[in-house]
């Protein structure tokens, strides 16, 4: 006996294509080969479903798994890794120490990049020169971390992309966009050659290529929606 009403897909993502935090979730799902539906929010207008699913923060991304909401991008990525643990590749490293190192850097990345990018985009007031300095230092440290963690392989995660690749890689779209918007160089091949090579590989990865658009698209987005949010934006992203 079949129901006349179609069941909602088991895995749904509430998101916005331009959000690096949403991009993380989509990469993780693609990496694990999990079928999912993406519900694109309208910029500046939060859906009822979003408000119901994430009442505390009212932000995307939200993963709905059999209707149960999970929020916060890195928490969602870990959830995906744990639920679909039998699907290779593993996203979090097996070794507890390496896992701790990746978590440390993921936290560092989210402390520096989102705010820095907003300032360079011009949606938040700030000293652009100072931010360029800060982000360049951050990238320098991440270059060193990459050398240690990759161990000569292609990604922070080794042979395949993992947690830290996703945490940093999801920001590459906006990093390259603000390089154009603010006329600055961040992913500088002269200063962080391994990261630049890694960024290209990451963006071309099959789990990433369709969900991390080119820098120009992010620039267009910024031009289109920049004026909506002259000061601290109440974007539906984290």
């Amino acid at each position: 006996m079949s129901s006349t009403k179609e069941e909602a897909p088991a895995v749904r993502v509430l998101g916005l294509w331009a959000s690096p935090f949403v991009i993380r979730v989509l990469i993780a799902l693609r990496l694990k080969g999990v079928e999912h539906e993406v519900l694109e929010e309208v910029v500046g207008k939060k859906s009822e479903l979003l408000l119901r699913s994430n009442p505390v923060h009212k932000k995307i991304p939200v993963l709905l798994h059999h209707g149960k909401p999970i929020s916060e991008s890195l928490i969602i990525v870990q959830y995906i890794d744990e639920v679909w643990s039998s699907n290779a590749p593993a996203i979090l490293p097996a070794d507890p120490y390496v896992r701790a190192v990746e978590r440390f850097w993921a936290q560092y990345i989210d402390d520096k990049f989102p705010r820095g990018i907003r300032i360079l985009k011009g949606t938040v007031d700030g000293n652009k020169d100072e931010i360029v300095e800060q982000l360049s230092t951050a990238l320098q440290l991440l270059e060193e971390a990459f050398l240690k963690l990759s161990n000569g392989k292609h990604y922070f995660g080794g042979d395949n992309i993992g947690y830290l690749d996703i945490a940093l890689g999801s920001h590459v779209g906006w990093v390259r966009a603000v390089e154009k918007i603010a006329g600055v160089q961040l992913l500088d091949a002269a200063k962080v050659p391994h990261l630049v090579a890694w960024a290209d590989r990451f963006c071309a990865h099959p789990a990433v290529v369709d969900v991390l658009p080119s820098a120009d698209r992010f620039v267009e987005y910024s031009v289109k929606y920049g004026s909506f949010f002259p000061t601290r934006p109440s974007l539906p992203t984290e």
């Binding site: 505390v56 916060e72 928490i75 507890p96 896992r99 701790a100 440390f104 936290q107």
Partner: protein, 236 residues
């Protein structure tokens, strides 16, 4: 055995609530460790080489390898010693995600709003910070109800878990807030579940062994306030 019999060393500063979190986790797991009190005005070579990025405590050193950031350290302790003591995170992925969500909330909303209370200069700024912190604490009351299954025991259910450790580390400072600023952060009339949680938490052997004396924290914070005011006056 994961983690092995390697030596554990914790670099800390007695007043830091973040260090307290690490101590709580180690004690809950029953893991022996060497504690090193760092002089943050004169940082040791070991400390600087172990946390070159932030130069902050706590730092956990396991078999010579450093782990930094209190929430990362607590998760590491749980991951690296799986067979030892009770797990801090639940086994179910959804419940783990919920625990991580509230842990992140404590960092992003409670701690971030609250820290300025001890640093800002004007009463207006302090009142605003207090207001935001109280709002966040009220949301946590709802979280506790949800996580403890309405029983109001611990965020981890019947036993102490990840969120309890992260909030528990802050307890002496939560109590110190009233003598320091006049605002009671955990008020039984406003957040009864959290007030009961705090009492229950403080009764634990682990808490008695690790939590700082509240008067000592008040004294420390007052001296810090004086030092900050003096240095900003000197810089003006």
């Amino acid at each position: 055995m994961a983690g092995g019999n390697g030596e554990l060393k914790l670099l800390g500063m007695w007043a830091s609530p973040f260090v307290t979190r690490a101590k709580l986790a180690l004690h809950i797991k029953g893991l022996p460790y060497e504690y090193v009190e760092e002089d943050l005005g004169n940082k040791s070579a070991l400390f600087l080489s172990s946390n070159p990025v932030h130069k902050t405590v706590p730092v956990l050193i396991h078999n010579g390898k450093p782990i930094c950031e209190s929430s990362v350290i607590v998760q590491y302790i749980d991951d690296a010693f799986p067979g030892v003591g009770t797990p801090l995170l639940p086994a179910d992925p959804y419940e783990r995600a919920v625990a991580r969500f509230w842990a992140a909330y404590i960092e992003d909303k409670v701690v971030t709003s609250w820290a300025p209370v001890f640093r800002v200069k004007t009463d207006e700024e302090r009142d605003e910070a207090a207001r935001q912190t109280l709002a966040a604490v009220e949301v946590l009351e709802g979280a506790l109800k949800e996580c403890s299954g309405g029983k109001g025991a611990f965020f981890g259910g019947d036993s102490v878990g990840y969120v309890d450790v992260l909030l528990g580390g802050l307890v002496s400072w939560l109590k110190a807030n009233e003598p320091l600023t006049g605002t009671k952060l955990i008020d039984a009339t406003k957040t009864p579940l959290l007030a009961a949680w705090m009492e229950r938490f403080c009764e634990l052997d682990v808490a008695k062994a690790v939590l700082q004396d509240v008067d000592a924290v008040v004294e420390y914070a007052m001296a810090l306030r004086v030092r900050l005011a003096a240095s900003s006056a000197a810089n003006n």
